[in-house]
Every structure is written in structure tokens, then in C-alpha cells.
């Protein structure tokens, strides 16, 4: 039942953009939209990425509970991706969610921890830019920006090119080379994997969750 989906993987960089001073999340997102439209990008629909957390039960005492994250991406609507933080991941078809329901005894769904990012999709020449509002329990917590360069599959080759593009509309919020590429065993010049995009989103969602803890001043 677990099937591998064939997806064309291209270089993707996901980063978080801080909310502008004195402005709300929505206003910052609108500012980014405007900058992109000024560049000449064309709106091409919407996107969403979501992430659900499952806790592994039945661990030996003393060990921290392992968290399994099941993610979905509107770019690949028929697949589900399941990964451990920093660990292995797998790609399966949409029925994986049903499988997780059946595995209730081993993996418990932490319902309050669902994070998702929704927003618009822009296309500029060979770049796909997705600006999304990251929300947890239906309250906006941050902004995610995903930039995809469709022409190249080697991150080491085109990173400078992508950085130049991101600087044109993100300004100082341009990220560095994502850690998922630098930490690969084969190095920067190995072709990208579908999982790399999801790992980057996972990292971003993790940061957003931690932010929420801070905002609640210790009360969870």
C-alpha cells in the first residue's frame, strides 16, 4: 500500500520572513505580494502545506518520545510524507493517513499541534514563489516563503542565483543555504530529493511552535 510517487524535484529554499515592524502578518504578506508583482511575477493559484504530529507510545522510560510528522503538500496532492525530525522519511500515497488512524495504539495524534501554511503561488520566469501564512490552531504565527527554481536540480550550482533572486524581493531577510543541503553526505552537488523541501518546512514549523511557547509565557 505504501507506494512511491514519482515527483520531479527541483531546488527549493524555504525560509521564514519576520513580520515587519508595527505591521500585522497580513500586511507584511501583502507587502511581499506587491514587491513580487512589481518584479513582474504572475499569480498562479494557491498552495498549502500542513503538518500533523504523532507521538510514539510504548517507549522505554527515560527515552524522549519520538515524534512522527506527517506532512502534505498541495504540489503533490496525492502523496503524504512521513518523517522523523532529523531522521529518515518516506513518501506514500494519500491513504497513509488512514493507516495512521489504524495505528492509533502506536502513534497518538497530538491534535493541538497541527501547523499549516497557506497562501498564494507566484510564477516569475522559471521561479515559483509561494508566500504563506503559517497558522497553528487557526491563529497566524508567521510567514513562510518558499522559492523554487525549476530549471536546476543541484543546489550547489544554483544557490548564488537563487540568492540573488531572493534578495530582489526579500531584501535583508534572504536566508543562507539551507542546512538540509549542507548536511548531506554526498555534499552540495547531489541532486535534490523530495524530502528536502519537507524537511525545510518541518524545521520552519518547529521554530513557529517554539515561538508559540514563548508567546504563551510558559503556559502550554
Amino acid at each position: 500500500m505504501v507506494c512511491v510517487c514519482v515527483c520531479v524535484c527541483v531546488c527549493v529554499s524555504v525560509c521564514q520572513v519576520p513580520v515587519a515592524e508595527g505591521k500585522s502578518v497580513q500586511q507584511t504578506v501583502d507587502m511581499l505580494h506587491k514587491k513580487l508583482e512589481q518584479l513582474g511575477a504572475v499569480k498562479q493559484g494557491n498552495f498549502w502545506v500542513d503538518c500533523e504530529t504523532y507521538q510514539a507510545t510504548g517507549n522505554a522510560t527515560g527515552q524522549p518520545t519520538k515524534l512522527l510528522y506527517v506532512m502534505h503538500n498541495s504540489e503533490t496532492p496525492l502523496s503524504s510524507m512521513a518523517l522523523f525530525e532529523g531522521g529518515p522519511g518516506l513518501t506514500a500515497d494519500a491513504n497513509f493517513d488512514v493507516l495512521m488512524v489504524k495505528l492509533k495504539s502506536h502513534f497518538q495524534n497530538a491534535k493541538g499541534h497541527k501547523v499549516e501554511s497557506r497562501g498564494t503561488r507566484y510564477r516569475y520566469c522559471d521561479f515559483l514563489v509561494k508566500i504563506g501564512t503559517v497558522a497553528m490552531s487557526s491563529s497566524a504565527r508567521g510567514i513562510s516563503v518558499e522559492v523554487e527554481y525549476c530549471a536546476c536540480v543541484i543546489p550547489g550550482d544554483c544557490w548564488n542565483l537563487m540568492k540573488e533572486f531572493m534578495q530582489s524581493f526579500l531584501g535583508s531577510s534572504t536566508p543562507e543555504l539551507p542546512a538540509v543541503f549542507t548536511s548531506k553526505a554526498e555534499g552540495l552537488y547531489a541532486p535534490v530529493d523530495c524530502m528536502d523541501t519537507m524537511s525545510q518546512y518541518l524545521e520552519l514549523f518547529g521554530k513557529v511552535r517554539k515561538q508559540q511557547v514563548l508567546a504563551g509565557s510558559g503556559v502550554r
Partner: protein
């Protein structure tokens, strides 16, 4: 037009053979007619049987005679020449409606004209190469011994030679792999994979490059329809530049030099995403990296920066 198809065919024997076929047909019909009619009415049963059998025998013998005659004539008729000058296009001559669609005669005219043109062009180029048009004092190749040989026809090179040339060029560049296919007939189609950057499909006509299409490294080039999900502007532009390059590198007498220069030029794209433009210093111009490679120096420029 008539002489092309009928070389080696004896027209006289041909018409005789057609007559012989008609005779054979009628004698066979006679056999079956006599069988169908049955025995004729005679006084005694023996008489009837005898007459029937003799008639039957006569008919069969006439069939035999006609068949032998036909076989004899068929050996005399001869065969149309095996080597069609136009291969399958020669079958166009069998079209009965010659007035409305004179394709075959027009095709022959076109081929004769282009062969003559090529021959004259070859002569002219050898003559012009003798007289060096350069103003420098160094004269190259003026002695009769060093005059380049006018090859009879570089359009009809043997496939083995083409294979050898391509494999030699493929070995020259370690980061570029060239695969050769022959999907339809003798024209080679090369799939050039340049590192992990791009793939180029190069269609050739003997050793001349006819057309190229550039695709991404991750795209599937083997499927029949070859449709791509998103058209990547970068590859469209590189395809345009590659077409310009194949028109630029021309040398009719030495097509292998042309192919080598083209491959060297194409190889300069190995650092397509890493090289900034030589003129403006930036990576991107209107969303595209520097896609133009100068034909002599192989420097990278944006399409808008190269003027």
C-alpha cells in the same frame, strides 16, 4: 523519367509475358468450364467418357504449355534496378494520377538541382580557398599539394564512420556523454547529457547537424510525446542559442570539425548556473542566467547583454 525505373527491364519480353498470362488464364478457365459442362452427349457411354477425357487432357496440356511459356518469359523480363536512387520515394512514381500530383518528377528535378548545386559549390569553395582573401602576409594552403580535396559527397557518409566520429568526440570530454540512436533510418539522433545541467537532443543528417532541442537534466526525454509539465523558459532560450550555434559553425568540407566545435561550444554550458554575466556581473537578468556563449571565446553573457 521513364528510363530511371526501367533500367534492366526488357520491354518486349514484358508485353509478351503479359500476353502469356492472359493465355494462361484463359486455358485454366477452359479446364474448369469443360469440367463444369460435364460429358457431351454421344451415342455410347464409352464414347462420351473418351471424348471427355481427351478434351480434359488437351486442356491440361495447354495449361502446361502456357505456364512454361510464362516462366521462360519471366526470366527474360529482368528486374528493375535494385538500388532505387530515391529509396522509398521512388515508389511515388507508381502514382497513376500524374497530372494532378506530379510529385515524383518534381522530386527528381529537386534532387538533380541540389546535387548540381552542391557540386558547383564544392568546386567554387576549392577555388576560393586557393586565393586567400586575408590581407595578412602569411599565405596558407596555396600550394597544390595542400589544396583540400573536394570530397565527392559528404552527405552520404557510411554510418560506421559517423559512429566513429561521434564516439571519438564523446571521449574527448569527460563530463559530457553522447548516446547515439537511429530511430528512423540512417539519420543519427544524439542524446548529449551535460553533467547534471541539461540534456540536448541533436538530430543529424550524416555528419551535419540539423536541429537541436535542449531539455532539463531531470526531464524525461525518452517518452514519445515529450511533453513537459512546465515549459522552462531557460531551456527554450538555450535551444534558440544552440540553433544559432549550429548555423554559425559551418564548414562543408570538414563536417567532423564542425561537430567538434559545436560540442565544445555546448560544453561551455556546464557552469550555466554558476557563472555570472561577463558584462553586468549579475547572475540574473529578467529571471534568466547568462545563456549566451560567445562563439569564439565561450564567455557567458546575458541575452540582453551580448550586444
Amino acid at each position: 523519367m521513364a528510363d530511371v525505373m526501367n533500367v534492366g527491364v526488357n520491354l518486349e519480353a514484358f508485353s509478351q509475358a503479359i500476353n502469356a498470362i492472359q493465355a494462361l488464364r484463359s486455358s485454366v478457365t477452359r479446364v474448369f468450364d469443360s469440367l463444369k459442362d460435364g460429358m457431351k452427349n454421344k451415342e455410347t457411354l464409352e464414347g462420351r467418357e473418351k471424348v471427355f477425357i481427351t478434351e480434359f487432357q488437351d486442356n491440361l496440356q495447354s495449361v502446361n504449355r502456357d505456364l512454361n511459356e510464362l516462366e521462360r518469359l519471366s526470366t527474360l523480363v529482368g528486374r528493375p534496378s535494385e538500388s532505387h536512387p530515391l529509396h522509398n520515394s521512388g515508389l511515388l512514381s507508381l502514382d497513376p494520377v500524374q497530372d494532378k500530383t506530379p510529385l515524383y518528377s518534381q522530386l527528381l528535378q529537386a534532387y538533380k538541382w541540389s546535387n548540381k548545386l552542391q557540386y558547383h559549390a564544392g568546386l567554387a569553395s576549392s577555388l576560393l580557398n586557393q586565393q586567400s582573401l586575408k590581407r595578412s602576409a602569411n599565405q596558407m594552403g596555396t600550394s597544390a599539394k595542400r589544396r583540400p580535396k573536394v570530397q565527392p559527397s559528404t552527405l552520404a557518409l557510411p554510418t560506421q564512420y559517423v559512429d566513429d566520429v561521434i564516439s571519438r568526440i564523446g571521449r574527448m570530454f569527460p563530463d559530457m556523454s553522447i548516446e547515439l540512436f537511429r530511430p528512423n533510418g540512417t539519420s543519427a539522433v544524439l542524446l548529449v547529457t551535460l553533467g547534471k545541467v541539461l540534456k540536448a537532443i541533436v538530430v543529424m543528417r550524416s555528419l551535419f547537424i540539423d536541429r537541436t532541442i535542449v531539455r532539463g537534466y531531470h526531464e524525461n526525454v525518452y517518452s514519445e510525446d515529450g511533453k513537459v509539465k512546465h515549459i522552462i523558459t531557460l531551456h527554450v532560450q538555450v535551444t534558440d542559442h544552440a540553433t544559432t550555434a549550429l548555423l554559425h559553425y559551418q564548414l562543408p568540407q570538414m563536417p567532423d570539425v564542425v561537430v567538434r566545435s559545436f560540442m565544445t561550444w555546448l560544453r561551455s554550458y556546464i557552469k550555466l548556473f554558476q557563472t555570472p554575466c561577463q558584462r553586468c556581473g549579475k547572475y540574473l537578468q529578467e529571471g534568466l542566467p547568462p545563456t549566451w556563449r560567445d562563439f569564439r571565446t565561450l564567455e557567458a553573457f546575458h541575452d540582453t547583454c551580448r550586444q
